[in-house]
Subunit: 427 residues, 2 copies
């Protein structure tokens, strides 16, 4: 592969909101009805990786592959807008420095892959668009003149919550007031290093019993829920301030209170939609009840809360907890929800990090160090597989530049098409 | 039995709210945070029956038996308040007419029974307190000088929603503004005869998978839900007006829209509580999705909505529908939820009224007259017994005086104790 190839490969993280984004006031620019705030998760465990290459010889314009499937870049569509905005930033740079290659005039090929399967039940659009923007920013050498917040404004137009994946740590998406979206962007509330002890346990919940999935979404809530306006005007502004303070103070109890209340408030607005939108199922609710009981019992001993739950637009729970509580929470979850596959990324079960524990497992007893007043009958032991998979991760950093040029990290082959397609053809 | 016994036996109906009552501003007087509105159901199918007797010779003070179990009448408790308020009304009457027996000074024995088992999943406190008040009002010969609205004010202090069971048809509980509760009472919005075609199908949902039941209730929502205030101040007042108009106009589409939206709004406030309160389960939600799909498909054919769902503080659905839609809805429910016991009170299945259809039944096909665009896959066919029981009933009348004196309707024996206890002793 020629060494003068114009290419960059970046990875970007998943983020899980603790103050939820639900509702757009502009569906084209993706301007949200309220601010939101998220925790960036560790790319060592969950990430999107994207290679972007600019080449004057590409003859079919801009092209993009996602997990090996080519996506159409529709005129005026989200991909088109993002790539064009990035080209404009490059163009501005080129117009200031005539010695630069005119990359902005060349077509780009983009290849993006997620390291987590759809089966993980995690939305990949946030990490995906963040990796797209990060790799184009690296390709075009836009930083540090262009800030990550400026980049987040572009990622936002791909997928709203993608803007928050442009930063590590604790990240706010300021909804902004401008009709052009100039001030609708992400800012870092605190870096990962400020409060690195926060970990996450993702509970991937089986949703096998569902019929036809609902097609209703956030704009249906905006149009029909009388409660959403109150959420937007009163509830979220207060919580943004309080949870930012809790993060500054590493005050897990307050962080947990607000996180759980806001998840419930968001799902309440979904339920208040006509027709109602249901994301949580009976298993989701059982996890809520279990966490509430764990917290109540811990508080009765004069200790703090053990964990906080939050649910996005699906049945999966994400549990946030300080590192020292995770083993206890994990064991409790595995008792009530047998047979979940477990990605033991931190070696909690004592068999080395990154072990996977799959398939049938013995009925597990409850951990011996639960608070004394914990009510064992708060929920029943569920049928095997009610939680399909457990993923243990932690707060993480922002997008990473993996490679400049076309080396071993490249997802694109010499011909500018995905390597995995070429490998598949050879096999 | 002596014929000069001072006794009355009354029955009172169940009511199911379409604008929900949730939250008290005074927990002793039971003053609600918002108005509510209900449909009274037919006593031919679901009722509480109460015999009240006053006798100077009763030597252990006031006593009350509910379904054969004696209840303690605690000083200052709800039963005590209700009986005392009724005695005061009698006393006022006696003070105006010296020829009247001084019943207000005599102890009362009260025996109350519900004709529906706990298994029906219906709250019995509304019909029970309404029957208590109605039977004491008949015993004391208070009506018509004391109006049903005045009686409802007393029933309200027993169980809030009981005040609405003092009327038949369509009934509003006006929350009122007075701190004494003088203006917190029920009024009839329209009699049963105004819109007699409205029928109900009660779907008793299995809740076998629940762990420890939640003890949190409406006052937890008042204390912690930021959305409830908006419901109280904005949502309910608008809906009370609109649904009253819809009832006046026999406009089922609007009635259904508001009924479903208010059920969802109420459960949204429960979910917005800390810790969250969940009443609906996966089966409840599947019924919602089925009804929403039936309505959408019917509207796509240019017809009106077929049914409206509403959920009280539990997983059971009550479906309201015009009489002509019930057979279609019933057959659809029985297709997706096999093996429900069915109380065929109207002889819909062609085997005579009041037949019961129990135990395993063949998998039932969908009815042939569903709207063409109905999506059969909106939900899956559930496991047998997911809905345990179906009860078909209709809008009904208010409390009935079954008997004055001690005849064949009496629940009390000659000795002033429940007949069913005497029968049980003899057996």
């Amino acid at each position: 592969m020629p060494s003068n190839v114009h290419q960059a490969t970046c990875s970007a993280p998943v983020n899980i909101a603790v103050i939820k984004y639900w509702g757009k006031k502009d569906t084209t620019l993706i301007l949200p009805t309220n601010d939101s705030l998220s925790v960036t998760l560790d790319q060592d465990h969950l990430r999107s990786v994207t290679t972007a290459r600019a080449d004057a010889s590409f003859s079919n314009g801009d092209r993009l592959w996602l997990n090996g499937e080519e996506e159409t870049i529709k005129d005026g569509g989200r991909l088109h807008r993002c790539i064009n905005e990035m080209k404009k930033l490059r163009q501005a740079k080129e117009s200031e420095d005539a010695s630069l290659a005119k990359l902005s005039e060349w077509p780009v090929h983009v290849c993006s892959e997620n390291n987590f399967p759809t089966a993980a039940g995690l939305a990949s659009s946030a990490s995906g668009f963040a990796a797209l923007i990060a790799s184009l920013a690296a390709l075009y050498e836009l930083q540090p003149q262009v800030s990550s917040s400026q980049l987040s404004r572009i990622a936002r137009q791909g997928s709203g919550s993608a803007c928050r994946s442009l930063f590590g740590g604790y990240v706010a998406w300021q909804g902004g007031n401008s009709p052009t979206g100039q001030d609708s962007l992400a800012v870092q509330v605190a870096p990962q290093s400020h409060w690195p002890e926060l970990q996450a346990l993702i509970c991937v919940v089986s949703d096998a019993k569902k019929g036809t999935p609902s097609t209703a979404g956030m704009q249906q809530t905006v149009a029909t829920s009388p409660l959403l306006q109150h959420r937007i005007n009163e509830v979220v502004p207060n919580r943004m301030k309080s949870i930012s303070d809790a993060i500054q103070n590493k005050d897990f109890d307050t962080f947990a209170d607000i996180t759980m209340a806001d998840s419930n408030n968001f799902h309440a607005c979904c339920l208040d939609t006509s027709p109602p939108i249901f994301y949580m199922n009976d298993v989701s609710r059982a996890i809520v009840q279990l966490v509430e009981e764990l917290n109540k019992a811990s508080e009765q001993e004069g200790n703090g809360k053990l964990a906080a739950y939050t649910y996005d637009a699906g049945p999966n729970a994400v549990l946030y907890a300080p590192k020292q509580n995770i083993a206890k929470i994990l064991a409790t979850i595995r008792h009530y929800f047998p047979n979940a596959d477990f990605d033991d990324t931190f070696g909690l079960l004592g068999k080395g990090a990154n072990a996977s524990h799959r398939g049938p497992q013995e009925a597990l007893g409850l951990p011996s160090d639960l608070p004394a007043s914990f009510n064992k009958n708060v929920i029943l032991v569920h049928e095997a597989g009610a939680i399909r998979r457990l993923i243990h991760t932690q707060v993480g950093d922002g997008p990473r530049l993996l490679e400049r040029g076309a080396g071993k990290e490249s997802l694109l082959g010499e011909n500018g098409e995905p390597l995995r397609l070429q490998r598949a053809k050879r096999a």
